[in-house]
């Protein structure tokens, strides 16, 4: 890592922004490492979660938002449960993802794409159509064969239905999407 | 001075020497910032606080009164705050009957180590009194 100039290269607003949106105080973290110790994903992260917290304390916005770690967090809540400083770490990770998405800097494109596909399905049908999501994701991501090995197993056990269930109030669900998007635009 | 007076309301605090006055000292030593409206009268024990002092203050110009003693069971004089609790509760219920908002009077228990609680109490109480505004605005000018 390059040397960080703590006089000029610290984004104080970012610390504020995260604190405000998450309702958590990053200064409470004393870097004990318990979150990293318990995190099932530490080995896949580019920055272990305690370092994400440290980067946050140091106002290193770019490093954090460009990191894979924030997308590989599955919100399993282990960090939050065990934090001795009572910081809701998982919620901070959640907030970082939201900010990264808002600022269009998603390092893990596939994960975001999967989430988007999920939400599209939801917006369209009101509920989730698992097969549809998988197919749409495979198409969009170019991973045409992702989990294709599972297909026969699923089929043979009759675990899926071939048409999406559409709910009557799907327009109402869609409206939630729209209202939210309108509101988000207004804020921009 | 009039400018200053306009920004502040008159809040009288009766604090027992052993716990709450110490708690206010602890808050001070810890530099816990607080609003400046409160004026503190040190008494040995919350049991020394005759409810008439509170009435006197409210009738004569105070906008709020705060009484704080040791936590129940933790009184330096064993039982003083137990008597205080009954008397102050009686007053708390009587004030609205007189037409004085009971929220102008608060009594609580704060130990010498609870600087943080003291800060919170002063801040919240001052805020509340400000929300209620001056008590004496509509009344006769005090002599």
């Amino acid at each position: 890592m390059d040397a960080i100039n703590l006089s000029s290269n610290v984004d104080w607003n970012f610390i504020e922004e995260v604190a405000k949106e998450s309702g958590q105080n990053p200064s409470l973290c004393y870097q004990c490492g318990n979150c990293t110790a318990g995190c099932p994903y530490t080995q896949y992260f580019d920055y272990p979660v305690s370092q994400v917290m440290r980067l946050l304390q140091a106002g290193q916005k770019d490093t954090i938002l460009n990191s894979k770690s924030i997308w590989l967090c599955a919100t399993c809540e282990t960090c939050t449960t065990r934090c001795p400083c009572e910081i809701d770490v998982a919620h901070i990770m959640d907030t970082l993802r939201i900010i990264a998405r808002r600022e269009n800097r998603v390092s893990e494109k596939d994960i975001k794409l999967f989430y988007d596909t999920f939400l599209d399905s939801m917006k369209q049908f009101g509920r989730i159509y698992e097969v549809g999501i998988l197919l749409a994701y495979n198409l969009k991501s170019g991973h045409f064969l992702a989990d294709s090995d599972l297909g026969p197993k699923v089929m043979s056990h009759g675990k899926i239905h071939f048409f999406p269930k559409k709910i009557k109030g799907r327009d109402k669900v869609a409206k939630i999407f729209e209202r939210f998007q309108d509101k988000a635009k207004k804020h921009d | 001075m009039s400018d200053v007076a306009a920004r502040e309301l008159r809040i009288v605090g009766f604090l027992c020497n052993w716990c709450s006055y110490g708690g206010a000292d602890t808050a001070g030593v810890s530099r816990f910032k607080q609003p400046t409206d409160l004026r503190i009268i040190r008494v040995p024990c919350s049991g020394r606080v005759d409810p008439l002092f509170i009435v006197k203050a409210l009738l004569n110009g105070a906008d709020g009164v705060l009484v704080s003693g040791c936590h129940p069971r933790d009184c330096h004089y064993t039982d003083g705050n137990f008597y205080a609790r009954r008397r102050l509760e009686m007053l708390k219920r009587l004030l609205p009957f007189l037409g004085i908002d009971e929220r102008r009077f608060h009594y609580t228990w704060i130990s010498a180590s609870e600087g943080g609680k003291w800060q919170q109490t002063v801040t919240d109480f001052t805020k509340r009194v400000h929300e209620l505004g001056p008590l004496h605005a509509k009344k006769e000018a005090t002599p």
């Binding site: - | 409810p51 008439l52 009435v55 006197k56 009738l59 004569n60 129940p72 069971r73 039982d79 137990f82 008597y83 609790r85 009954r86 008397r87 509760e89 009686m90 007053l91 708390k92 219920r93 009587l94 609205p96 009957f97 007189l98 037409g99 004085i100 908002d101 608060h106 009594y107 609580t108 228990w109 109490t121 919240d124 109480f125 509340r128 009344k139 006769e140 005090t142 002599p143």
Partner: protein, 318 residues
């Protein structure tokens, strides 16, 4: 007739006591007045009728070292119980002659009914009817219309303590809920209305201290802090805040002790509802501590005692 039986009852205990307290005819037909009897022949002065409004027990603490016989109504008897709780009398020095009472009259209300005409005569019928004779003629009133407010909700028509009872015990037919109905109704007013009410009432106070002097529980008398300079609680200035403060001193010194005999209001020349604050506090004492003054000699006034865990007092949040 009750008066006669009362005379007999007092005559029966006269030899045991230094003085007997009862009622005699006052300066006119409308007034009774206390009489202090030390000689047996004085017994014939004694009367009993709804004009006997005074709470004679007020004199007991000052006669603490004497043997006294005293005539009490139900309401008055609560004062004796309260004195016992506070150790202000020696019970063994007092012979209590109790009279069950159906209510007394309020002189002011009678005068109001007769347009303040001088009263020539007043007679009391069997069923609570009162015949008042003035120069303008005769008028019949009902006791229930001209009694003080306390009689309208009286819960204790028969004395709570007595040594001799003259007449048959009466049980109250008034609802217990009615006692503080006026207090609860007052609480429906807005804060501003309440403050305004008290300011108007107290502004009329002339600080004559009649209410204090009439109060059987006001034990300080000459030491009353309303008049001392050490401590110097209030000045003699006639400002509203000083008058207000005087009434607060009176009320708070009676907190959890007032037996609601109403002597303060009867004595007030300005018609200020002096008893109301004390009754409000009594209501709270009942809710908080299940305490009612002047009922059980073994009770303790709630503000002179405490419980380590007060279940009814919740911590207040800001």
């Amino acid at each position: 007739m009750i008066s006669q039986r009362l005379r007999e009852a007092i005559a029966g205990v006269f030899s045991e006591v230094d003085v007997a307290l009862a009622y005699q005819q006052g300066f006119d037909k409308l007034h009774a007045t206390p009489c202090f009897m030390t000689m047996p022949e004085e017994i014939n002065k004694l009367i009993w009728n709804p004009l006997c409004v005074h709470n004679l027990t007020s004199y007991l603490p000052s006669l603490k070292k004497k043997k006294v016989a005293v005539v009490v109504k139900g309401c008055d008897s609560r004062t004796i119980v309260q004195f016992m709780q506070e150790g202000l009398i020696n019970r063994e020095n007092v012979v209590i002659i109790g009279i069950p009472c159906n209510g007394v009259i309020s002189v002011n209300k009678v005068l109001h009914e007769t347009n303040h005409e001088p009263i020539e005569d007043i007679t009391f019928g069997e069923n609570g009817e009162i015949t008042v004779k003035t120069l303008k003629g005769e008028k019949t009133l009902l006791l229930s219309d001209v009694c003080p407010d306390k009689c309208k909700t009286c819960q204790y028509p028969t004395p709570i303590v007595y040594d001799r009872l003259v007449g048959d015990p009466i049980t109250s037919d008034k609802s217990p809920d009615s006692v503080y109905a006026d207090i609860k109704e007052f609480e429906n007013k807005t804060l501003e209305e309440r403050l305004q009410y008290w300011e108007q009432e107290f502004d009329r106070c002339i600080r004559c201290y009649a209410c204090r002097n009439a109060c059987p529980m006001c034990i300080c008398q000459d030491s009353c802090i309303a008049e001392t300079r050490d401590p110097h609680w209030i000045s003699q200035r006639a400002t509203l805040s000083e008058k207000f403060m005087f009434h607060m001193i009176h009320a708070l010194h009676l907190a959890g002790r007032c037996v609601e005999c109403g002597e303060c209001e009867r004595a007030c020349p300005m018609g200020i509802p002096v008893n109301k604050l004390k009754r409000k506090i009594n209501l709270d004492m009942k809710e908080l501590f299940g305490y009612e003054p002047g009922i059980d000699p073994e009770d303790k006034p709630p503000l002179y005692t405490f419980k380590v865990d007060e279940v009814t007092i919740k911590e207040h949040k800001i």
